[in-house]
């Protein structure tokens, strides 16, 4: 059974068809890449999957269950985890506080019990704190636990965000440009980390990614979007050599230039 099925999802914002009949599937343990030029509808698709947008048509199924009508936090509860292009963290809080905030659904006590300071909540908080520290250890953030997020460099923020998403205990990880701002070597190292994390946390991954070598390194399957529509899909090598995909990336003018050059 696929973990994620996006079936013929369409959404329109005023005059812009941001997504039309988009299909995306991710099987258990797969790493699926979503590529495409700017404005192709990649993040829009993520927003449909996670529940920020409700599609005009189409369904989203998660672990076999239709989640199209569910709110964002309900999908998180079912096991969806997502990172943001511009880093989804509580910037005024420390790394530790962010890792605790992300364990909202793991707390095991009600907010009311927490604020009354009922006996069990202290032990639960110690448990959450230990888990936050363990996650920080895995991602090499131990030194930064008490540092406020706001001042940290971009690459570190991405790592903190990954830690926070993992803290929500997801089955499906949706990564929106996880390597943006990274050089080729860092991106390659991230690929290795991702493969480790998949094994360790039992994850299915869907990622929007621009580093083609990274996509080729880790992805089992790739979807290419353009102008809100699915342009191509298949194994990474196949999609990469697809002439339509190349044209979408280089643009129509480049295409004409090429043709003029040959005539």
């Amino acid at each position: 059974m696929p973990v994620l099925e996006v079936e013929r999802c369409s959404i329109r914002f005023g005059g812009v068809q941001a997504a039309r009949d988009v299909n995306v599937r991710a099987g258990e343990w797969e790493i699926v890449g979503v590529i495409g030029p700017n404005g192709a509808g990649k993040t829009t698709t993520f927003n449909i999957v996670t529940g920020f947008y409700r599609p005009d048509a189409g369904r989203v199924r998660f672990k076999g269950r239709d989640v199209t009508g569910l709110a964002v936090h309900e999908r998180t509860a079912l096991g969806m985890g997502r990172t943001f292009q511009n880093v989804g963290l509580v910037k005024g809080s420390t790394v530790r506080e962010n890792l605790l905030t992300a364990q909202h659904l793991e707390a095991g006590y009600s907010a009311l019990a927490g604020m009354l300071g009922l006996p069990g909540t202290f032990a639960a908080e110690r448990r959450l704190a230990a888990r936050a520290e363990a996650l920080a250890e895995i991602l090499g953030l131990t030194e930064l636990l008490d540092t406020r997020v706001a001042g940290l460099p971009y690459g570190v923020l991405k790592r903190v965000e990954l830690g926070a998403v993992l803290a929500t205990d997801p089955d499906l990880l949706l990564l929106d440009e996880p390597t943006s701002g990274m050089g080729p070597e860092e991106a390659h190292a991230f690929g290795a980390t991702l493969l480790d994390l998949r094994r360790e946390f039992d994850l299915t991954v869907v990622m929007i990614e621009h580093h083609v070598p990274l996509v080729a390194q880790v992805c089992d399957y790739v979807y290419c979007l353009n102008f809100g529509e699915l342009l191509a899909e298949g194994p990474p090598d196949e999609v990469r050599s697809n002439p339509e995909v190349i044209r979408a990336y280089l643009g129509q003018e480049a295409d004409e230039v090429l043709q003029q050059g040959t005539s």
Binding site: K91, Q103, A107, G117, T121
Partner: protein, 352 residues
């Protein structure tokens, strides 16, 4: 955050303990030797701290301004007074009812805040406060009209001093709840919602439910504050709960320092006591060298804005930021002014 921090020796800890004991003594012992009028003022300071913590939940934790907090507090006061003097209920029942009613009215405003935000929500709260003043507070049976509603002090706490200690106990309970709130998932969820609702939802927080929760908790605190205020004055008069009071509440919370528990408590107490102290200090007016004497009644008008401007421009984190060196020292750190002048407290609270 370097790992090797110097810890104080036994003498250092003793000094810290002595200061803490002195502060506790100031709060617990000093009012004991005072007359009823003064104790009444100190009690009001403790109650204002409760109200400040209530407003801090909205203003600080959720980033929603309330310009109608005088109504929140006033409805609590009249509910408690009505329960005791009209419905013949005991003191505690009045307190509980004031908290329930406070929570319910805040819930209604919370529902509105889900639709209307920023400046517009501030206007809604302003309208709500005015509406309460003009309509609810004119209900004869609830408020006793312009004569007011009696709210005698509870049995066993009938002296001003005993009632002062009772209010301190309630303040301690509110501080406890506020402390645990911010150390557990509810408070973390609120901070996340305030800063970025999308991130909060992605973390599994039901943004609507937690926004409403914040309003209810703030309303319960405000209702409690109102009830305590009623019994402190032993007579509730509707004229007390005007818009000016709402402004005092907002100012004392902001000057205290949003999201800073100790700062809010101190700021609220300060604003409650300031009139009394000004009266005492400047009973003969303020003598400005080379100038004439500033008459007594004008002193607050001059000194108030000066203090306010000084705090908000030099210390955007308010009293909470000003006392930080002392707090750090009490916890065993070094006494330094290193981050009191730093602009590390960002003014991100104006959502309008």
């Amino acid at each position: 955050m370097n790992g090797h921090r110097q810890r104080p020796g036994p003498a250092g800890w003793a000094a810290r303990g002595a200061l803490l004991a002195a502060l506790a003594g100031l709060v617990l012992v000093v009012p004991a030797g005072r007359g009823n009028v003064e104790v009444h003022v100190f009690t009001q300071a403790a109650i204002y701290a409760v109200i400040g913590l209530s407003l801090n939940i909205l203003l600080g934790y959720t980033g929603q301004i309330s310009l109608g907090h005088q109504a929140f507090v006033g409805i609590g006061a009249f509910t408690a007074a009505y329960m005791v003097s009209r419905a013949g209920q005991p003191f505690l029942a009045g307190i509980v009812m004031a908290m329930v009613v406070g929570g319910l009215q805040a819930l209604v405003l919370g529902v509105v805040s889900l639709r209307v935000t920023g400046l517009y929500f501030a206007l809604v709260t302003l309208a709500y406060g005015t509406m309460a003043e003009e309509s609810l507070f004119n209900i004869q049976s609830l408020t006793g009209g312009s004569a007011g509603q009696p709210a005698p002090k509870p049995a066993g706490f009938s002296t001003d001093l005993r009632y002062y200690y009772l209010c301190l106990a309630f303040l301690a309970a509110v501080i406890w709840v506020d402390w645990r709130l911010m150390r557990t998932k509810g408070g973390r969820a609120l901070l996340a919602v305030r800063e970025n609702p999308k991130v909060a939802a992605t973390n599994g927080v039901d943004v609507k439910v937690y926004t409403l929760m914040a309003f209810v908790v703030a309303g319960v605190f405000a209702g409690l504050g109102g009830a305590l205020l009623a019994h402190n004055d032993t007579f509730v008069v509707r004229d007390l709960f005007d818009f000016q009071l709402a402004l005092v509440f907002v100012i004392m919370t902001v000057v205290g320092g949003l999201r800073n528990r100790t700062g809010v408590v101190l700021g609220s107490a300060f604003f409650s006591l300031v009139g009394y102290f000004f009266d005492k200090l400047f009973s003969g007016g303020l003598h400005v060298p080379g100038l004439k004497v500033l008459p007594k009644e004008y002193v607050p008008i001059v000194i108030g804005p000066v203090l306010l401007l000084y705090t908000l421009t030099r210390h955007p984190g308010g009293v909470g930021q000003q006392i930080r060196p002392l707090q750090r020292w009490l916890r065993g750190g070094r006494f330094s002014f290193k981050d009191t002048h730093e602009r590390d407290v960002r003014v991100t609270d104006a959502r309008a």
